[in-house]
Amino acid sequence: MKKIRIKIPGFLKGMFIVFSNLFKKNVTVNYPFEKETLAPRARGVIALDQEACTSCMLCARQCPDWCIYIEGHKELQPPSKPGGRPRSRAVLDRFDIDYALCMYCGICVEVCPFDALFWSPDFEYSEYKMSSLLHDKAKLQDWLVTVPETVGLES
């Protein structure tokens, strides 16, 4: 006996797909109460290590938006060995990043020759006033604790 194949009309298949999704868990992350963990390389905020910075101005020059403001002066430090001459060291007066202008491209972190800037995936720093989006060097130093450890590589 020939099997009669009844062709199910296409819209019933679609309705069945939608209906079966009614019983699956929802995929929304209920934001203020549950948070997603981002990848360690995600670009949230830039952290500064003041000890390593020598005010070479490479980051401020290469920034496409010119949002980094650096001022510094040279200080004389006592010599390392007695009898030597005093060495000069660069000290930062001002290192501001204006996050209202920053476009999170990462060029400053990459060109820094002294490992003073790091990326951190923390993104919750919205403010009510635009002027408070200018993070000064103390605030940038505070972000350093949120920088994650580097994970291994595939190769």
């Binding site: 990848a39 390389r41 060029i107 020759p113 590589l153 595939e154």
Partner: protein
């Protein structure tokens, strides 16, 4: 002078016909910059009679950001950060032709591993862009649910891109000579090379298998629906000679029957080593354009799976000087973006940045066909056709 009417030969009154024509003028309907269905701020000034359109004039420029002028005052690494944002839905694919043009001017060769990673990320960007289309196009036709399913599947790919590059939409991961290794810009850096992170291969494989299953789900939910077929089959037919004479490219040209794909004809990325098919359509109507993009999602997922197996080891970037100066010359490179063909024409006078950068975007040429194709269609069909062209205003206006 008195005219007498001859009783024998007087004209029949019934033969003298009086024609009364009711003069109707069409209505000018401004499908304006703010509208739920134009993908951005596109303005169409349509002359409409009843519901039938007899003339459409697109007005562009509401989103012009001046890319070509901005690129003249930036250095080469900085231009990459700008160029991401032209077609913001597929971020990575916009950087590639510019990199290829600059590398051609500097005459350096990119290592194989970098080329394979570029290929993987470009195909992921293509999947992202086509998922946005698959979610937004049924929304314009009226089905409200596929958008949410599309966004959920797209999140998987965006998470993968974020784990490699750090950014979801604007990765800024290409550097001249390869991709970003971040290995040492000076004497004391101890930063690690930013190669692919641990677990990338496994996660990508799982994600691509889910994407292949999602493409099947969309084919059932959207393509099998009789209402969707009635709305899109036979609507907005674009013959292949008109398409090629207007400069249309990408999935729209392939849906009209032309088997032309820059991935297999040019070699800016190693597509020749991998095995993929080029989906083409038969009629050139809206259904074919939708179906070609769905098939492209499947082909891209298969390409990524193949590329992960075939990726060679090696350096990620050739040696380039710290301050990049490109020698004098001109170069034009075309690439297959998700929206169509994108090309960058770089003229360099030996300085730190390009002297002139001309960007040929896909959507700008694609929507030049709109006045031809929208003559005589009804208003709902206008939205179906415009949606199937899948343009983004950032791509149109730069």
């Amino acid at each position: 002078m008195v005219t007498t009417i001859d009783p024998e030969n007087r004209p029949f009154v019934s033969e003298a016909s009086v024609s009364v024509e009711i003069e109707t003028e069409g209505m000018t309907l401004n499908i304006g910059p703010q509208h739920p269905s134009t993908h951005g701020v596109l303005r169409l000034v349509a002359k409409v009679e009843g519901e039938q359109i007899f003339n459409v004039e697109p007005v562009l420029g509401y989103m012009h950001r001046g890319y070509e002028k901005l690129a003249e005052v930036r250095t080469y690494p900085q231009v990459t950060t700008l160029v991401n944002r032209i077609d913001w839905v597929s971020g990575f694919a916009n950087e590639i032709p510019f990199m290829a043009a600059t590398e051609e001017l500097m005459e350096i060769e990119v290592p194989q591993r970098a080329l394979y990673i570029r290929l993987i990320l470009t195909e992921m960007a293509r999947i992202c862009s086509h998922f946005v289309f698959n979610g937004a196009y049924p929304l314009e036709i009226g089905a409200l649910t596929p958008l949410f399913y599309a966004m959920e599947d797209r999140e998987r790919v965006l998470d993968l891109i974020e784990s490699v590059t750090g950014g979801r939409f604007h990765p800024n991961f290409n550097r001249i000579g390869g991709i970003k290794p971040a290995a040492g810009a000076g004497p004391t850096t101890k930063k690690d090379i930013q190669d692919l992170p641990i677990g990338f291969y496994k996660e990508t494989q799982l994600a691509m298998e889910k994407i292949l299953a999602a493409a099947d789900k969309f084919e059932d939910l959207v393509g099998g629906n009789e209402v969707f077929r009635a709305r899109t089959k036979g609507v907005g037919v674009l013959p292949y000679d008109i398409a090629s004479s207007y400069g249309v490219s990408g999935p729209i040209l392939r849906a009209s029957g032309v088997k032309f794909d820059l991935r297999s004809t040019t070699d800016y990325l190693p597509y020749k080593d991998l095995d993929f098919e080029i989906p083409i359509g038969e009629n050139g109507d809206c259904y074919d354009r939708w179906y070609v993009r769905l098939q492209e999602i499947r082909e891209s997922a298969k390409l990524v799976l193949q590329a992960i197996d075939a990726i060679p080891t090696g350096p990620l970037q050739t040696k380039v000087p710290k301050v990049i100066k490109v020698p004098k010359g001109e170069a034009y490179v075309r690439a297959e973006n998700p929206k169509g063909e994108m090309g960058y024409y770089v003229i360099s006078e030996g300085g730190l940045g390009p002297y002139r950068l001309k960007i040929r975007t896909a959507s700008f040429s694609n929507i030049s066909v709109l006045p031809w194709i929208l003559e005589g269609v009804l208003i709902p069909d206008l939205l179906a056709i415009m949606g199937s062209f899948d343009f983004v205003l950032g791509d149109v206006d730069r």
